[in-house]
Symmetry: C2
Subunit: 133 residues, 2 copies
């Protein structure tokens, strides 16, 4: 992720912002809480404040660099915006998050919105699943 990306969205290039982007981009798990990001940085020796992480994540969301998910459980999860929309499947046993795309479902959604006199602006689909026996 180049500084360029930050400039492009009108944000000054600062160390905290670069670090947060790095963590989001290099983490194994793509869906992180603000605290996950904070700890990753503290653990790697950075001197950053939790408040800054929140502020930066919010700015990134507003800028469209990351997507914020409000799954259940009180805390928000942030994910680097890969450009293409996708939905999530969460295993209720392991907590694992799986991403998927379904053009069919997307199409049906637009049709339904349309039928009600609306146009689809955005959507959030989360499936809670359990491993098949």
């Amino acid at each position: 992720m180049q500084p360029h990306n930050l400039r492009k969205v009108g944000l000054k290039v600062t160390l905290p912002r670069l670090r947060v982007l790095e963590v989001l981009g290099e983490s194994e798990e793509k869906h992180l809480t603000a605290d996950d990001v904070y700890r990753a940085l503290i653990d790697s020796g950075e001197d950053i404040g939790l408040a800054t992480v929140y502020r930066v994540l919010n700015q990134f969301e507003a800028a469209g660099l990351v997507v914020k998910h409000n799954f259940e459980g009180g805390q928000a999860f942030y994910e680097l915006d890969g450009g293409e929309h996708h939905d999530h499947m969460i295993c209720v046993e392991t907590g694992k998050v799986i991403e998927f795309v379904s053009p069919d479902i997307e199409r049906l959604q637009s049709e339904i919105a349309d039928k009600h006199g609306f146009q689809l602006e955005d959507h959030s689909l989360v499936m809670y699943v359990r491993p098949k026996k």
Copy 2:
């Protein structure tokens, strides 16, 4: 909503519980926050505590009497469980919540979960829409 319903799910019939059920059942808007319920009761002269509202709503959810939705925005919304599952469409301009059912989407979801080796346990689909111009 008869006291009977409360007994059936193993809850003692108490005034606060009856009142909360009433508010949920008689409100124009079907999706209420704990605070909405609390205020409705306070405004109508009841002497109830916010903590009790939260407690009661949680018990109702556990008992299957109400469904809890985690839309965006930090606060949870509660809705009387009408028995049949449905999804939501929220107008980003007016905040209005519209319910709908789509067997097609439900079926696709099961298929997708299945394809990934899981079985669908539950799901949450929220569409953010805007009135057609």
